[in-house]
Amino acid sequence: MTDATVVTPRAAAPEPAAIARLASPRPRAFELFVWLLPAAAYFLFPDHLALGVTIMTYAVAVLGLDLVLGYAGIVSLGHAAFFGIGAYTAGLLAVHGWREPLSGLLAAGAVALVAGFVSSFLVVRGKDLTRLMVTLGIGLVVYEIANQASAVTGGVDGLSGIGMDPILGLFAFDFYGRTAWWYAYAVCLAVFVYLRFVVSSPYGLSLAAIREGSARMPALGASVDGRLRIAFTFSAGIAGIAGGLLAQTTQFVGVDALSVTRAADFLVMLVLGGSGRLYGALIGTALFMIAREYLADLNPVYWEFWMGAMLMAAVLFARGGIVGALFRLPALRGRFGRGSR
């Protein structure tokens, strides 16, 4: 675990000015505005809190996926496994009497982290398609294990009876999802800030360097596999936190939380928003979920047609995801381009 220390940000370390400018974790003014948007949505659309909670929950998982796909360049179709492991951890803890939410959430992240660490040895080998299939295989195996252990997990019928204590002993989860909303918002913001520090640390920059050309990194004396394994492990932990959040806010865990469909959804959300950019993960998740909800309400039977059309149009007209396309606009590139990665 000595490598893990690399992750901690070293803001005080002397760095060339160019690098500092490229990758500063310091927030800029427009970012505060961006983070006020969901808060505004809370007041403007008080009837859509449930959707808001779901978006922010998935956004956490997609942020985790972004670390491994967007920054480390590993295509993972197995992140639902860690998401589901986190969900079952938090859910089972609550069902068996441990109803304190924050520690439950941390436990969810920790168990997923361990699972991610074990899997990371299989994942870092091979290239794109191989990694995609290996992560997919891990996801399928974990799904089957949870499915067959229906006495513990509830299997397809799901795990119900998850009751939560008030957060910090103060804020009880309510019917409308108000507490859940602020809880999810806080977790999402915390994960975002954490990842912001990670990706702008020397370690985060070395991940980008590996993604751009892994052959050169060993020449610089960097262990490629080790760094990728750390990225995968932490990414899995974050997905686990997202899963824990899902279990705690919906008070239910279904085996579908582990499904390949869920993993594919995460991937689609990230690519739609723009991988390699933390805001891409957030915007992609929000856009995907809002579009799905809106289209499914419009036409509950054939909404998938329009969803598919939207994804295809996004690729044809916004190559590199929504955020990627935005940053290619000349007006924006000049102003906000720096540090977008």
Binding site: A39, Y42, F43, P46, D47, H48, A50, L51, T54, E144, N147, Q148, S150, G154, G155, V156, D157, G158, S160, L168, L170, F171, F175, Y176, G177, R178, T179, W182, L246, T250, Q251, F252, V253, G254, D256, A257, A296, D297, P300, V301, Y302, W303, E304
Partner: protein, 396 residues
């Protein structure tokens, strides 16, 4: 310090936000809004389709007004077995659409994820298909009109025990429902004094049944009980069973009604002949009400071919709602409807059914049926019945 003031700020904001939407206001006094949750897209959209047809058929036959109220539907898609989507949809139905009654619920996971919300909001939940045992305990306002898995499975075991089979095998999909079916069947066989000689669990998604069917063939039992997810798994198993000549070898296939539902045997063709299943609805059920139901269904939904247990359960769910509203004089609140329907009994296309007074669960006749050719079509012809069947696992 900073954290504390941030949290205090959050509370203040949360209290403010609570003001404008101070609770689901009651819908207009003369309408009853029914939120219907069905899988209309995704791998189980066929289920949703059948159920939607059943609901529409009932409304067409009985009109949209009952006990001085007008019935208004809000239909939502849960996309299949996706409990978090189901829960969100139900929350939206209650908070945003302000429905009075919830209905649908094709899968246990959806029903169980929604139950705490329905309980807190005191909304009646008419469960039309979700069939795991004992789920009505999750909310005092939940009423089940479909079937329960042990209810239709245990009679298969008791019937098998009475047929003089020397050895019986079970094959179930390795999912919760499969495990439950296996247990209920074995319980039924043992209650009838028989014994199950071997059990096989197969993956739910399994493109090729050859190795499992071959295993059964080599074990040479007298009968095989199967529970498999409807769709390509059930069809694939029945076809492979036939192709390998197990029926010709004298092995009887037993199952629950969903193994040979009307849509499945339409696809298996003659391979389905002779399969014996226990279930609550057959299109061939001889009653005037069913004859009329089938005729109207075929006339209105020719593209969806034949009605099956899902259409009937949805039809009956609406019948239960109308009956309940008549009894309460139009009061659609959860406690009133659940109270009115507990112990109620009425006639369905499947035969007489009753809602248990204590558990609000379905009590009905379970029929033993055999797939036979009737005219042009394959039909589940009823050959024996187990009246007053209950959700046995919950009773234990």
């Amino acid at each position: 310090m900073i954290r504390r003031s941030f949290l205090a700020g959050c509370t203040a904001i949360a209290t403010l936000a609570a003001m404008p939407s101070a609770g689901p206001a009651a819908a207009a006094a003369d309408t009853v809004k029914v939120g219907v949750l069905l899988p209309l897209s995704g791998p189980f959209s066929q289920y949703g389709r059948q159920m939607q047809n059943g609901i529409a058929l009932f409304l067409k036959q009985h009109g949209t007004s009952v006990a001085g109220k007008t019935i208004e539907l809000v239909v939502k898609d849960d996309g299949g077995i996706a409990p978090d989507r189901a829960r969100r949809a139900v929350q939206d139905l209650i908070v945003r659409d302000k429905v009075d009654v919830l209905a649908g619920f094709t899968f246990t996971a959806s029903a169980m994820a929604a139950a705490p919300m329905a309980k807190e909001a005191r909304k009646a939940m008419i469960v039309m298909n979700a069939s795991s045992s004992g789920i009505t305990a999750a909310s005092p306002y939940m009423i089940r009109v479909g079937q329960t898995l042990p209810q239709i499975t245990e009679p298969a075991g008791r019937y098998a025990a009475g047929q003089g089979f020397r050895s019986i095998y079970t094959v179930v999909a390795d999912v919760t429902a499969g495990h439950d079916a296996e247990a209920a069947f074995i319980r039924g066989v043992e209650a009838g004094g028989g014994k199950v000689s071997g059990s096989l669990r197969v993956p739910a998604q399994n493109p090729d049944f050859a190795p499992f069917v071959q295993r059964i063939k080599d074990a040479k039992p007298d009968a095989v009980f199967a529970w498999l997810p409807p769709g390509e798994a059930a069809i694939g198993f029945i076809k492979e069973f036939d192709q390998r000549g197990l029926a010709a070898q004298g092995i009887t296939m037993l199952g629950t009604g969903d193994l040979t539902d009307e849509l499945t045997i339409m696809q298996t063709g003659d391979a389905g002949l002779g399969v014996v299943t226990t279930g609550h609805y057959s299109m061939a059920h001889p009653s005037a009400m069913n004859t009329e139901f089938v005729a109207s269904y075929l006339a209105d939904y020719p593209q969806d071919k034949w009605p099956n247990f899902l259409s009937v359960s949805a039809y009956d769910g609406m019948a239960a709602l109308y009956l309940g509203l008549e009894k309460t004089g139009g009061d659609a609140s959860g406690p009133a409807l659940a109270g009115a329907l507990a112990g109620a009994s009425f006639e369905s296309p499947r035969g007489p059914i009753r809602i248990d007074a204590a558990t609000r669960d379905i009590v009905q006749t379970v029929y033993v049926r055999k797939v036979e050719r009737v005219g042009e079509r394959l039909m589940n012809v009823e050959i024996h019945e187990f009246p007053e069947s209950r959700d046995t696992a919950a009773a234990h």
